[in-house]
């Protein structure tokens, strides 16, 4: 249950700080998202630029890029995912602790991009793992990655702690392990994780909340 913003400001003027556990919890989480340190292709160069002094992703709480999936909250798929690399990407995602988020950065990561009709490139990483934010571009500028990061923060802020739409890490029954595709004779087996792709249609009440 949210506090009314007007009431909150009025109470703030009186020196009373009011919040909810939900807000406090999400405030902490959204300001300490640690990305995983790995790059796949040319988008990784833009991702590195985003973390450096000029763009400085650390301002948003993404302070350090963790070299281990166990210590990371956010996976930035920065670049082309080849079919040979896809099982390793899914495995890394499985190794991350909940709550975890994924940003698919660039045309290749979201759909295969210019290599879509090729024999060796996965047509978008969202075929195997759920993606929270997609960024188009080839490669996207650092500003686009910052925008995606802020979008992700907004989404974390809106996450309820209870109820039907609660995130996976608060749902004891939720499936956290995503099947790793096997290399097959002609293609990856299976070519698509049907539980993730095509994306399930959003529930009517969920769309209303966002709008």
């Amino acid at each position: 249950m949210a506090v009314e913003p007007d009431l909150k400001i009025e109470l703030g003027k009186q020196g009373v700080f009011v919040t909810t556990l939900n807000e406090l919890y999400n405030w902490g989480r959204r300001n300490s998202v640690w990305p995983m340190q790995f790059g796949l292709a040319c988008c990784a160069i833009e991702m590195i630029a985003t973390t450096m002094a000029r763009y400085d992703l650390a301002r948003f709480g993404a302070e350090v890029f963790r070299p281990s999936p166990r210590q990371a909250d956010l996976m930035i798929i920065s670049g082309t995912v080849t079919k040979k690399m896809a099982p390793q990407v899914v495995r890394l995602y499985n190794q991350m602790a909940e709550p975890r988020y994924v940003i698919a950065m660039g045309a290749c990561a979201i759909s295969g991009g210019p290599f879509k009709q090729g024999y060796n490139v996965l047509k978008g990483i969202d075929r195997y793992i759920p993606v929270d934010v997609h960024i188009p571009g080839c490669p996207p500028r650092p500003e686009a990655l910052i925008h995606a990061f802020m979008t992700l923060q907004k989404r974390i802020e809106e996450q309820p702690l209870t109820g039907e739409n609660r995130p996976r890490h608060l749902d004891a029954d939720a499936q956290g392990l995503f099947p790793v595709p096997e290399p097959g004779a002609h293609d990856l087996v299976p070519p698509v994780n049907r539980l993730v792709w095509p994306l399930p249609a959003p529930k009517p009440d969920a769309t209303e909340k966002q709008g």
Binding site: K83, K84, S111, K116, Q117, Y119, N120, K123, P183, G184, A185, H186, D187, P191
Partner: protein
Amino acid sequence: MKTAEEILAAIKTALPEAKVELVQNPSVSGQHSLVVAPEDGLAVAVFLRDDSELALDFCSNATGVDWLDKETTEKVKATEVVDGEEKVIEKTVKHIQPGYLESVYHLYSMRQKHGPVIFRMRTANRTDQVELPSMTPVWRSCEFQEREIFDLFGIVFKGHPDLRRILMWDEFEDHPMRRDYVDPDDYEYEPTPHDEVLKRAQEHQAQQNEAKQAAEVTQ
């Protein structure tokens, strides 16, 4: 640097037994190439590398080409007896030139500062006799590139120290750069379909729709 004809003559004098042909390149670049029979490949390569005047000590590039069966039609005039009369009848005769796989090497000389010399070998056919001698013992730089040719074209290099797939995974069975490679039937929304992709995407969609209709009928 010697012209391709002079190199051919040098090979002929040094190795009179070797079967080498010159393939002219009619374009402006005029990069003529030497086609060597696979059994003489190693001997010719060693000669090209060790000859003091040529000294082609660096293989810059190795790649493959897939040549499909070539069908040529020829018009032949023949006299035939039709109804007791001799007539000249034109017939079209079809010739099928069998296809083959080819490996191409671009050779340079670091010592003499010249190049490239193009060196090619052809397999007997495209299906079962796809073996060629490996040039890795002659030029070390061929190792990974020959692995790539093996991976994408399926040419088996005899004498290669470590012939495994290099780009695709080991379980993969096809050779994607061959002309008759059929990629997996996996089409979704294609942003700019054209030619082959458009055709296959439409076929895929038609199949999907049929399957959907069939499912609706059974329900």
